[in-house]
């Protein structure tokens, strides 16, 4: 535990993981409330072809163009989902699943093709699948913090618009707000949140980080503001715990440990949260039956 402050590598990774947790927690709250949990999954899987194409086009193994490619591809993925829902009879979840698998398939195909190139291994494209947290540099953490900061500022600015979008989008339109634009803005912020986390947790597992903290937070409160803050905290906790755990043993991968921590938080929240938790519900119904039988006795 003390190592968190003294060990440079652990500190860097922990900070990166915490930032990732906070940002995905904040934005994940909204996707969970809008019942778009699969959106994070679709975006992160859709990012893969973007990463590979960015490498093929620029020949660079620097993270910036790759991450940019990831963002653009993820964003295009959401546009495709929108187009499919609008123009076909396929519903939102079907469209998300479709985009997820098609984009990911294209990404894998490109990945296999790319490995024949001599400079491919240098780019570490494979590492985007499950993340390579230990290779985070200070610069990376700074970039994550800046991007994450922008996203959070945007959420604070457009707080009431996002609330309106999530609760009663049609009413919002009737008031004159361009809900379509707000939707695109929110989705773009989700893409940013995912792109921040890709190098730490990887494409395959990132979706968990966009869903878990928000779902866990919902269990503990009925107020949106509290939920979003709680979600950010849970995300940060998962990040820190994951980083710490992976530092305790040799060859324990950071990305999966972060996701596991987040999952444990969700599980505990589902079970033990007051009022909404399953354990409490069970206790309450026991108490109720006990009272009832007692009342029935003469």
């Amino acid at each position: 535990m003390f190592d968190l402050f003294t060990d440079y590598t652990l500190r860097t990774v922990a900070m990166g993981a915490a930032i990732l947790g906070i940002v995905s927690g904040v934005l994940g709250s909204f996707t969970v409330l809008r019942q778009q949990s699969l959106l994070g999954d679709a975006i992160s899987h859709a990012a893969l072809p973007g990463i590979v194409l960015a490498f093929l086009l620029t020949g660079s193994s620097e993270p910036l163009p790759l991450v940019l490619g990831a963002g653009i591809a993820g964003w295009i993925g959401t546009l495709c989902v929108r187009a499919i829902v609008r123009n076909t009879r396929i519903k939102n979840d079907g469209a998300l699943g479709l985009v997820l698998s098609v984009f990911f398939g294209i990404g894998l195909m490109l990945l296999t093709y790319t490995q024949a190139r001599p400079d491919a291994s240098q780019a570490g494209l494979d590492k985007f699948l499950f993340g390579q947290a230990a290779a985070l540099l200070q610069d990376d953490v700074v970039t994550m913090a800046v991007l994450g900061g922008i996203a959070i500022v945007a959420v604070t600015l457009f707080w009431k618009e996002f609330k309106l979008l999530s609760f009663d989008s049609e009413f919002g339109r009737s008031l004159g707000f361009r809900m379509g634009a707000v939707d695109i803005l929110l989705t773009t912020l989700v893409v940013i949140a995912i792109v921040i986390g890709l190098r730490t947790v990887g494409v395959v597992l990132m979706s968990a980080m966009v869903v878990a903290p928000g779902a866990a937070a919902r269990q503990w409160t009925d107020r949106l503001g509290v939920m979003v803050c709680l979600s950010a905290m849970f995300g940060a906790l998962a990040g820190l715990t994951g980083a710490l755990l992976s530092s305790t043993g040799a060859r324990l991968p950071t990305g999966p440990m972060v996701v596991l921590s987040a999952s444990v938080i969700v599980l505990l929240s589902l079970l033990f949260a007051p009022r909404r938790g399953l354990v409490w519900e069970r206790l309450r119904s026991h108490r109720r039956t006990a009272l009832r039988t007692e009342g029935a006795r003469p």
Binding site: Q35, E161, D168, F171, T221
Partner: protein
């Protein structure tokens, strides 16, 4: 433009809502066909018709929420875009997820978002106006209650309060009486009549033919086309109802006061 007295006169002559040649079609299937409607100011009007008649679509078309294939809508003589502030919308209760983490007061304050515009947060003034609206619908005690803990009738009242804070001239409501208890229904009717008395125009999509004559002074019968529209006493007649509902009516009571659908 014109001088004040003349303008007032002109306004009185202008309909609250004017619908002209309105057609709304989804992939070749018409939902509304060539509808003409002129709703005078200060009436409490019911829109009735069988399922699929296009009642909700009519409301949404007035609010520019669905794409219009032909025709147009004017609010107090001007296009809807220019008159947004004057129109309040109460959607169907089932159109939102009531498990959303928010309070009754918070929902009502959403009605003020339009006046606030982008980014600005609601403040004390908005909170006050919202509390007053909640009082008017008898929900002041529930202001800080989580909306999932409210009954159907209470939720409906919250929605109404939300429209009240908008300070509108025209109110468009989609089935506000659906699934509410008798007390709430009476309370809502009283409220609507108060709105009418103060000069607002209230248009309500209504499902219960039994209560049309009792609550509403104007009625529009709709079945993709406009069947009839006008004062209830004149328009809410057997022949018109038969024309609107076609073979859907099992039997009709011949009494003038209470025609009944199946």
């Amino acid at each position: 433009m014109a001088r004040a007295p003349a303008r007032r006169e002109a306004m009185e002559k202008t309909s609250a809502v004017e619908v002209m040649d309105l057609t709304v079609a989804y992939s070749d299937k018409p939902v509304l066909w060539d509808v003409d409607l002129s709703v005078p100011q200060g009436v409490l009007m019911a829109v009735v018709g069988p399922n699929g008649a296009g009642k909700t679509t009519l409301i949404k078309a007035m609010l520019d929420l669905v794409p219009i294939s032909a025709g147009r809508v004017l609010i107090a003589g001007r296009p809807y875009d220019e008159q947004r502030r004057k129109v309040a919308y109460v959607p169907q209760r089932g159109s939102v997820d009531w498990d959303f983490p928010t309070t009754a007061l918070d929902v009502v304050m959403m009605g003020r978002y339009g006046a606030l515009g982008w980014i600005k947060r609601p403040g004390a003034r908005e909170k006050q106006a919202s509390m007053e609206a909640l009082e008017k619908v008898g929900m002041a005690a529930f202001a800080h209650r989580q909306i999932s803990q409210l009954s159907g009738g209470q939720q409906q009242r919250v929605f109404l309060a939300r429209s009240l804070v908008q300070d509108a001239d025209v109110y468009l409501m989609d089935e506000p009486f659906q699934g509410v208890d008798a007390t709430t229904e009476r309370a809502i009717v009283t409220l609507l009549q108060e709105l009418r008395a103060s000069g607002s125009t209230v248009i309500v999509v209504h499902h219960d033919l039994q209560t049309v004559a009792e609550y509403f002074d104007w009625v529009t019968l709709l079945n993709v086309r406009r069947i009839a529209s006008g004062p209830t006493a004149e328009v809410f007649t057997e022949p018109n109802l038969r024309a609107a509902y076609g073979g859907r009516m099992a039997w009709l009571q011949t009494s003038e006061q209470e025609p009944v659908a199946d």
